[in-house]
């Protein structure tokens, strides 16, 4: 109960966090519960070809007569699942690299930051295409390759943070008190970086969501799976544009943008909580009426 209340107060602390978690929460709920209400194979072909939205097909049908709404709901689960899973994977890599590189310094840091910098310089999408084209087209391949090409940014941020924190006096104090290195890293430094890790997880998830959808759009996805990116691939390849079937390609992209906005809001909110300078002060409204302030 206390945990729940703590969570609630955290969420309501900041307007952006509130709206953001509302949006993300909605999509997560759809991803978990949505498919339970759908008893139809989303890939089933019917004879109702290219129908615009109607009561029977809320978002119309595509060229194969498949129901776009049903695909969207089922795709929500796939897309969110893989985005979050990849996000977690990326964060694990970046936290490990960032903390080790920043804390240990020396030759370990030299090597790790060199690799990090190389990955920062190389554009992620072309590198991912280069890597993905020779492998089997599955969602897992995409997840692994996206993780492989997107971890560097988070690692760089965490390294910089760790580096500045390593010389903070409380770490030196704990060290001179006789604490072991792993305890210094995980009990003294890491807890202070949770907001950064959270922010980096969210930013990464947005990146990953877009990167996965981008690769799927290029046709590297598993065509037997329904996801937002695969829907876009299908729509584009089957000339939805020329057929004028906006209901086919608009919804999946909109969902990506909305989920991304929700995540972005969460992220901005966390930034504001962590850096009070970004917060809007409550007294601002009063102030405008005050003549004496420049």
């Amino acid at each position: 109960m206390r945990v729940l209340r703590g969570f609630w107060s955290l969420v309501t602390l900041n307007g952006k966090v509130m709206v953001g978690s509302g949006i993300v929460g909605f999509f997560v709920l759809v991803a978990i519960l949505g498919p339970l209400f759908i008893h139809q194979n989303p890939l089933k072909f019917t004879s109702a070809l290219l129908e615009p939205p109607s009561a029977a097909h809320w978002l119309g049908t595509n060229q194969g007569g498949q129901d776009v709404f049903i695909q969207l709901v089922v795709g929500t689960r796939t897309s969110i699942f893989w985005a979050f899973l990849t996000g977690v994977l990326v964060v694990i890599i970046s936290v490990t690299v960032g903390l080790l590189s920043g804390y240990l310094g020396g030759i370990v840091d030299d090597i790790l930051s060199l690799i990090t910098n190389v990955f920062l310089v190389v554009p992620a999408l072309p590198l991912a295409i280069l890597a993905v084209e020779y492998f089997a087209r599955t969602e897992l391949t995409i997840a692994l390759i996206v993780a492989f090409t997107n971890w560097a940014w988070g690692a760089r941020v965490l390294r910089a943070q760790t580096l500045s924190m390593r010389n903070r006096e409380f770490v030196t104090a704990a060290r001179s008190g006789g604490e072991r290195t792993w305890r210094l890293i995980f009990f003294e430094i890491l807890p202070n970086q949770l907001s950064i890790v959270a922010a980096s997880f969210i930013t990464t998830t947005i990146q990953v969501l877009l990167a996965v959808a981008g690769l799927e759009f290029l046709g590297f996805g598993d065509s037997a799976t329904v996801s937002w990116g695969n829907m876009l691939f299908g729509a584009y390849n089957d000339s939805a544009l020329l057929l004028g079937a906006w209901w086919w390609f608009a919804p999946p992209g909109l969902c990506i943008a909305l989920l991304g906005s929700g995540l972005a809001l969460l992220n901005f909110g966390i930034d504001e909580i962590a850096d009070p300078r970004l917060r809007r002060e409550p007294g601002l409204k009063v102030l405008k009426k005050q003549k004496a302030v420049a």
Partner: protein, 332 residues
């Protein structure tokens, strides 16, 4: 100097890593890409056993050369600009295809990235300066939505609504193929500009939010610095305080961010070109991918990586000019 040499070594390593990855991946990947390509060529009726041999050499199959010899040969070919033969545009060389498409990409990319960066940063400056105003609130909301938009989707929407339905702008090709001839004529330039509007708009809209956000946050942090307060206390005009003191410093993290974001912008550009059938290297890449034309696709990707690394170097140089602290380290 130190700083630049360190950066240079990173760039060289990045290029080497990309090239090496490109060499080894097809050799260790499951299956035989040479055969795939060969069968595709066979469908076009352009395959002979000699072609298969050439292809197998390219992918390192059925060759007596050791891996190292192959690697060195591959590097040698690269240095001489030989990226192999394209199947899609058979019998053209990949380098010729890229050479034809590259200018379109470069012009479109540089124009739209510059507009996006400058405009986004400028809006960010004003958002921070007028924090809490209607201007800030409206752009903040827009920024949140466009922050995480998928390039190809935005492109599809633009093509469908602004191009296809309303018919305001052309939405395929880089110029009116039927009526104008490429050259330095007014007609051609106007036509090219007209055709570039939608793709450029797509790139600007999908990247601008990032610059706005970076600049706004950085500017807010800078505005609370003492030197901005002192500039105000000195009685300088608002414009001077805002630009010469606050924005001039706030732009520094933005420039660093610019380098990092370049990669994703370039990736986005490739996708946008596909949707607009814009004859840049993104379009060539798509041809390569859909036709399993590995030589073409890999050539484009390598070039893109190389170009991005090069642009990073330019941004680094720019940063050195902008920040005297780094400049001093260079001379030290």
């Amino acid at each position: 100097m130190r700083h630049l040499i360190r950066r240079l070594s990173i760039y060289l390593l990045a290029i080497w890593a990309a090239i090496t990855l490109n060499f080894f991946l097809p050799r260790f990947a499951p299956g035989n890409p040479a055969e795939v390509v060969f069968y595709r060529l066979a469908q076009h009726g352009e395959a002979s056993p000699a072609t298969l041999n050439a292809l197998e050499a390219e992918f390192g199959i059925n060759t007596t050369d050791s891996l190292w010899v192959q690697y060195l040969k591959y590097l040698n070919n690269l240095i001489h600009g030989q990226l192999g033969v394209s199947i899609t545009y058979f019998p053209n060389n990949v380098s010729d295809v890229i050479g034809q498409n590259l200018p379109w990409t470069l012009v479109l990319l540089s124009v739209s990235v510059l507009i996006s960066f400058l405009l986004g940063s400028l809006i960010g400056v004003f958002m921070a300066w007028k924090r809490g105003s209607a201007f800030d609130t409206i752009f903040s909301s827009l920024m949140t939505f466009f922050y995480s938009i998928l390039y190809p989707w935005l492109a599809l929407m633009a093509v469908y609504f602004l191009g296809y339905s309303l018919g305001w702008f052309p939405f395929s090709d880089a110029y009116d193929v039927g009526t104008v001839v490429p050259g330095w004529s007014i007609d051609f330039i106007l036509s090219a500009a007209y055709h570039a509007i939608l793709p450029a708009l797509t790139i600007v809209v999908s990247t601008i939010a990032g610059w706005m956000l970076t600049m706004r946050n950085s500017m807010i942090t800078t505005l609370s610095e003492d030197y901005v307060l002192m500039a105000k206390a000195k009685g300088l005009t608002s414009r001077r305080v805002m630009f010469a003191y606050a924005a001039r410093n706030a732009i520094l993290p933005s420039v660093t961010g610019f380098a990092i974001a370049l990669g994703s912008v370039v990736g986005g550009q490739l996708l946008v070109e596909i949707i607009f059938s814009y004859p840049g290297i993104g379009y060539a890449l798509y041809q390569g991918i859909t036709n399993q034309d590995y030589a073409l696709a890999d050539g484009v990707l390598l070039l893109v990586i190389l170009a991005t690394v090069f642009m990073n170097l330019i941004v680094d140089l720019l940063y050195t000019v902008l920040d005297p602290r780094v400049r001093q380290e260079r001379s030290a």
